[in-house]
């Protein structure tokens, strides 16, 4: 359905339109905030908050981007602000240097590639991490990322490139294996 019609129905107080809007976008929002937060409770909270803000601010939506992109930009902002406030992310933070030292003799056949990569992704600067997750993990295009994060396409590409470089450096022993 045309976004504009759906928005008009929501603004007119049509409850079924609210649910339609939610159903159309919740999957994408939840996946994105889950990738960023990595915790089911936080992902649920951030998804809730995203849609509450979406409904509250729908009158401000000017249609400059697709509705889905606009909602995702709210989701990213909600998730990052939530994470900045701390909570459980700290528990997963392990200094990458320590991990690299501890595994200097490890090779690619080791089963902990996923764990090492997860820690390396956690250690990426926030902007790199979000772009990497959106592009390489969730399959967003640089244009979508740019519109969602409010940055230029070139910035998104540069951040992805730096994120990959950092990850490769962190996992060099696996790559050499």
């Amino acid at each position: 359905m045309d976004d504009r019609i759906l928005i008009a129905r929501v603004q007119a107080g049509d409850a079924s339109a609210e649910r339609e809007l939610y159903d159309a976008h919740v999957e994408r929002v939840y996946r994105l905030v889950y990738r960023i937060a990595g915790d089911p409770d936080q992902a649920q909270d951030y998804t809730q908050e995203t849609f509450i803000r979406t409904f509250d601010r729908l009158r401000d939506f000017r249609g400059e981007a697709a509705l889905g992109t606009w909602i995702c930009s709210i989701a990213v902002s909600v998730a990052l602000n939530g994470l900045r406030r701390g909570k459980r992310l700290r528990a997963r933070e392990v200094a990458l240097d320590e991990a690299a030292t501890a595994s200097a003799t490890e090779r690619r056949s080791e089963p902990d590639l996923r764990d090492r990569l997860a820690r390396a992704i956690d250690d990426l600067p926030e902007g790199y991490r979000v772009v990497f997750l959106m592009h390489d993990v969730e399959g967003y295009t640089h244009e979508e990322i740019g519109r969602t994060l409010g940055v230029r396409t070139g910035t998104s590409k540069a951040q992805l490139s730096r994120a990959r470089a950092k990850l490769r450096r962190s996992l060099a022993d696996f790559a050499r294996g």
Binding site: L117, S161, A165
Partner: protein, 228 residues
């Protein structure tokens, strides 16, 4: 090792990356129920007449405080030598002039909100600094929860006021709200871990830095002494 970082990750790494925070299926209905509940709660809050009356009363009180504050500022700026000529700002909004012009009124109102916000942020910054130090030193801060509740009430008023229309300020107030709410909910005899979570959250979110950046130096002292 591949050095061209514009190239996609190697298949093995790509595969491993897809397993990073792999989302389970969306708890669609559970989340929707929560959204509905919170929105209904939000609407009830807004519809509650006593709250609206209180908000108006607070707004009027803030405007009066502003009028007095601006008046004092105006008198001090002009000094005794200004003598006979009446301070323009002091007499405009609250005192003698019956109907201020629209532009002047709007300007005064904006200044009022700016001062009220600066004062609130200065108080919050002072409170959080003390709270953090108290937690670090292992002291029992009995008044923290009560003070946080008071600040929380003002904070919520400001979010919903004209001050909340500035997106950056609104974001700061929203983040502050969460911190204050956490402290306000602290029960007596809570674990050190809870306290540490709050103080770590403060540091990680850069709250203190953001508060200090938002508060002009000496705001609180001047405001309290009537200089503003």
């Amino acid at each position: 090792m591949i050095r061209d970082d514009d190239q996609p990750l190697e298949p093995e790494l790509r595969e491993a990356a897809r397993a990073y925070h792999e989302p389970p299926s969306v708890p669609r209905d559970a989340v929707w129920v929560q959204i509905q509940r919170r929105r209904a709660e939000q609407q009830r809050r807004w519809a509650r007449p006593t709250r609206r009356v209180w908000r108006w009363a607070a707004g009027v009180a803030a405007a009066l405080a502003l009028g007095v504050g601006i008046g004092r500022l105006s008198v001090r700026t002009r000094g005794p030598a200004a003598g006979a000529s009446a301070p323009t700002v002091a007499t405009s909004p609250a005192a003698t002039t019956p109907a201020p012009t629209g532009a002047a009124s709007t300007k005064d109102e904006a200044t009022a909100y700016r001062l009220a916000t600066a004062d609130h942020l200065a108080q919050a910054e002072a409170f959080l600094t003390l709270f953090r130090a108290s937690v670090r030193e292992g002291h029992e801060e009995r008044l923290a929860s009560a003070t946080a509740r008071q600040l929380l009430a003002t904070n919520r008023l400001l979010i919903d006021s004209r001050a909340g229309t500035d997106p950056r300020l609104r974001l700061l107030l929203q983040d502050l709200e969460l911190v204050l709410a956490q402290i306000a909910q602290l029960a007596p005899g809570r674990g050190r871990e809870d306290l540490k979570l709050i103080t770590d959250g403060l540091e990680q979110g850069g709250m203190m830095v953001r508060l200090r950046a938002a508060v002009p130096a000496g705001t609180e002292m001047h405001f309290r002494q009537g200089a503003l």
